[in-house]
Amino acid sequence: MKLERYLIGGGTLLVFLLAWELCADSGAINPLLISSPSRIAEAGAAAMSDPDFWTDVRVSANEFILGYVAAIIVGVPLGLLLGTSRRLSYIFAPFVDTLNAVPRVALLPLLIIWFGIGIWSKVAVVFLGAVIPILIAALSGVNTNEARFVAMAKSFSASRTKIFLSIILPGTVPYIFTGLKYAAGRALLGVVVGELYASTAGVGRMIADAGNMFQTDTLFFGVLIFTASGLVVVAVLDRLERRFERWRPGVGAPT
């Protein structure tokens, strides 16, 4: 079953790459427009021997990590708090709902006025993009806690703290991971859009520059970097989730 999946999936991808290469090489479509896998590989090799490229990677990685980690540090506890306290959730609900409705990248010009075109405006947009989905995930995790477990705990005279730590918190873990994975995509989007809009360095900047100079090969290579980063982050989160959720049927339980 698994082998079949890999064979068909990998085969299709291979055919696609070959067709792409052929279209460009034969001149059927101008390679300046669509580049080709071999050209992208060449551009990638050239970029990787250029120290400027590594500066770009470092800048983008810093923006992503700082913004995303800050979003986790703020979003998870705040979501749990809002989920546990009805009154607090009444206070914050309008803000959370509004921020959720606003496409956060629309705030970029404002963030640049506040933080300049260095990394901090990007960190801020990454943070804003990621914090809302994480907060909402943690909040809904608390709200969907199972009443029967809480009744069981109360029957054993469990304290409020004990109920929170032993019943509500473990129950939110699957929700939080779903939120983290979704937020990783939003965070990456923040890095790209932020750098495309205004920046001095970063992989997004590299893509923008390449685009301005019709260097489609380098442009595609930059896109590839972002794609790979997204996949790596989700893979890391999947691994973490499996460690946290050995108890769940089907999530990596050794059966």
């Binding site: 029967r148 069981m152 705990a153 054993f156 005279s157 469990a158 032993s166 959720e245 108890w247 769940r248």
Partner: protein, 269 residues
């Protein structure tokens, strides 16, 4: 000698305010019950008669509108370590192992980790789950989950065990096996038991006395002593005396069951 009852319910009344109509709906209408130390009492009644609600009142999870629950002559209004519930759906925490679930009540009571572990292991052995200490609930069968449920209640060493239809979701064979197991464990643990069920044969097989609830609002209709000697092999269910008691209880609740069925049909029509 007139001993004081271990558990006494005095004229327990409970009514809910119905959110849609704003009228009060009576769930319990003056339940009186006395259970002596070490006695095994089963409550049977048609579904919706308030049996489970009554159990929650005794546990202290739901406050009665009127009436008192006394344990050893003292009124109780909230859950306490003198009573422990065996829940209908096992309600095991899926992220805890068998041992972790069994020791849960001890953690709530603040028992030291080492002692809690030792006591939990003893109870896991008593309910026949040695070797499964580190399994997660989803790796256990329904019957095994109920064994964990029972161990979790017993480990806090309650005076009174409150059992809420614990075997209702099991298949017929497993249920019979669990009933036999429960009697073995009860004989070893020497607890006072209040057992809720809708199955007459289960009530008769397990209990010293079967209390019959009337349909909604629930109240005690009759109390029938089960004069079948212990130990009871599962074969007693085929004795003539057992069948006679079964018939008698069925007659008591038949009318309520039929009324309930009629009401349900009306509600759906």
């Amino acid at each position: 000698m007139t001993a004081r009852p271990k558990l006494e319910a005095q004229d327990i009344r409970l009514s809910y305010l119905q959110p849609r109509t704003g009228t009060a709906l009576a769930a319990l209408d003056g339940v009186n019950l006395q259970i002596m130390e070490g006695e095994f009492v089963a409550i049977v009644g048609p579904s919706g008669c308030g049996k489970t609600t009554f159990l929650s009142v005794v546990d202290g999870l739901i406050a009665a509108t009127a009436g008192r629950v006394l344990v050893d002559g003292e009124a109780v209004t909230r859950p306490g370590p003198d009573r422990a519930v065996v829940f209908q759906d096992a309600s095991l925490l899926p992220w805890r192992t068998v041992l972790g679930n069994v020791r849960y009540g001890l953690e709530c009571l603040g028992v030291a980790a080492r002692e809690a572990g030792a006591r939990a292991e003893k109870l896991v052995a008593l309910v026949g789950l040695s070797g499964f200490e580190h399994h997660y609930p989803h790796e256990l069968s329904g019957g095994m989950q109920q064994r964990v449920n029972l161990a979790r209640a017993l480990v806090v060493d309650p005076k009174i065990l409150l059992m809420d239809e614990p075997f209702a979701a099991l298949d017929a064979q497993t249920r019979e096996l669990m009933q036999e197991e429960l009697l073995r464990i009860w004989a070893a643990a020497k607890k006072t038991v209040l057992f809720i069920t809708h199955q007459i044969d289960e009530a008769l097989y397990l209990a010293d006395r079967v209390v019959v609830f009337s349909g909604r609002p629930g109240k005690v209709k009759d109390s029938i002593a089960v004069d079948i000697e212990r130990p009871r092999p599962i074969g007693v269910k085929r004795q003539a005396r057992f069948h006679a008691l079964e018939d008698r209880i069925w007659e008591l609740i038949e009318e309520d069951v039929k009324t309930k069925a009629r009401e349900d049909r009306h509600a759906r029509a």
